[in-house]
Subunit: 241 residues, 2 copies
Amino acid sequence: MSDGNARAPLSRDRVLSAALRIADVDGLQAVTMRRVAADLEVEAMSLYHHVRNKEELLDGLVESVVGEVLTEVGLAEAAASPASGDWHASLRRRCLMARTVMVRHSWAPGLIGSRPTIPAPLYLYFEEILAVLIGGGFTYHLAHQALHSLGSMALGFAQELFNPADSGGQVDEGAAEAELAAMAERLPHLTTMVAAELHDHDEDPLGWCDSQREFEFTLDLLLDGLARHLQTGPVRDRTER
Amino acid sequence: MSDGNARAPLSRDRVLSAALRIADVDGLQAVTMRRVAADLEVEAMSLYHHVRNKEELLDGLVESVVGEVLTEVGLAEAAASPASGDWHASLRRRCLMARTVMVRHSWAPGLIGSRPTIPAPLYLYFEEILAVLIGGGFTYHLAHQALHSLGSMALGFAQELFNPADSGGQVDEGAAEAELAAMAERLPHLTTMVAAELHDHDEDPLGWCDSQREFEFTLDLLLDGLARHLQTGPVRDRTER
DNA sequence: ACCTGAACACCGTTCAAGT
DNA sequence: ACCTGAACACCGTTCAAGT
C-alpha cells in the first residue's frame, strides 16, 4: 500500500494492457480513448503522448494478442516430445493453441482481419509454421499454399491473411527489395518462399500470390476430404491411422 | 427528364441500396446515417421512418448481399448440367460463385461475421447446400460437419457461422421449439439436421454443436489433405482424377 | 403520414496552456 | 517532458415541430 495509487507513470504498455482488459470485459466497441484514459485515471489527451492515435492503439492491441499466441505456442511446443520431425502433430498443436488464445480474446480475429496492415509479429508466427512445414518435407510452393489454407485455422477463424489490396495495387519495387533484405535474417523461410514463388512467376510477377488460386486449393482440400469421409465412413480414432 | 428529381419517395429499399453503393465505393466506415441521407438528398432523420436504427440498416445491408449470393448461385446452378447428382461439382460452383459476390462487396464478410444475429436469408442459403449434401449421400451428421468446414469458403472467408455465444448462453426451450416449427416448412433439411443432432446428444443437449469439435474436424480435413499432397505430389489436372 | 431543425450525449483529435 | 482543459468536427439518436 505504499505506491498503489495514481503514482505509476503512464506508458505505452500500461495504455495497451488497459485497452486489452476493456476489450476482453466489455467488447471492442467499448475501447474508446476516453474510456481507456478513465480506467487509467487520466485524461483522454494524455494517451496521445504514448500512442500516435487510435489506429496505433488498435495495432498495439493486435500485436499483444499475436504475441500471446507466440509465447503460448512456444511453451506448448517446448513441452511436447522434443524435436520430433512430425509436422502434422506440431501444426495441429499450434492451431489448437492459437484457437484457445483467440477464444480468450474473441474480438481479436475480427480486428486482425479488419486491420489495413499486417501486424509485424504475425510474420514471426508464420515463419515458425513455415519452418515446421519445410522441415516436414514440403516444397516452398506447397508450403505457401498450406499457409493460406491453414491461415484461418491458425488464427481461430480470421479473414484472409495477405489481404486482397496487395494483389491489385501497384508495388514500389525498391521499397519491396529493401523490405525483403531486412526480413531475410529474422524470417529466412518466408524470404526464401517469396523468392521462390516470385522466380516461378517472373513472367507474371503479380500472379505469385493469386488469392483465387489459393481459395480453390483450400476448397478442393476440403471437398476431397469430405469425399473420402463419404466413401470410408467416419474415422473412429485418430491414433489408429 | 420528367421525374428524375427529388420526387421519388423514400423507401427502405432506396435507403438500403444507397447504403450499399456507399459501402462499395467508399468503404463500410463511410456508411453513416448522415452520409446515406445526403446521397438521397434528404435529412438524416428522415431515414428513421424506414429503418429503426443503424443496426437495422446494417442488417439490411447483410441481407442484400446474401440475397445477391442466393440469386447468383441459383442462376449458375440453373445454367449448369441439369440435375446431375454430382454434389462435389455443385458445391464447388456454389462456393466459387459466393466468392465472386463477396469480392464485389469486400466489406461484407467482415460485417456478416461481426453481426450479433445470423441474417435470415443465410439459413436459406445453407438449406440449399445441405440439400446438395444430403442428395449426394451424406448423413445429416457428416453434412453438419461439412457445413461448418465449408462455412468460411461458402461466404468468401467469414467468421464462424453459428456464433460462439450460442453454445454458452442459456436456451429458452419453448421459444426454440416454436422457432423450429416455423422453420420446418421452408427449411426442411436444416430442421431435420438439427433434430437428428439433438437426438444423438440428448444426454448432453448443449454439446450438439461443439465448436471445438467442428474446429478440429476442419483442421484434420486440411492437415490430412496436405499430407496426401505431400505423398503423391501435386495433382496436375483436376479432370483426370 | 412523412420530413425537418435544433438539441443531446457521445466520438477522435488539435491546440494552447499549464506544471 | 508530460499532462490538461477547452474547443472542433464529427457520430447516432430523440423530440417537438412543421407540412
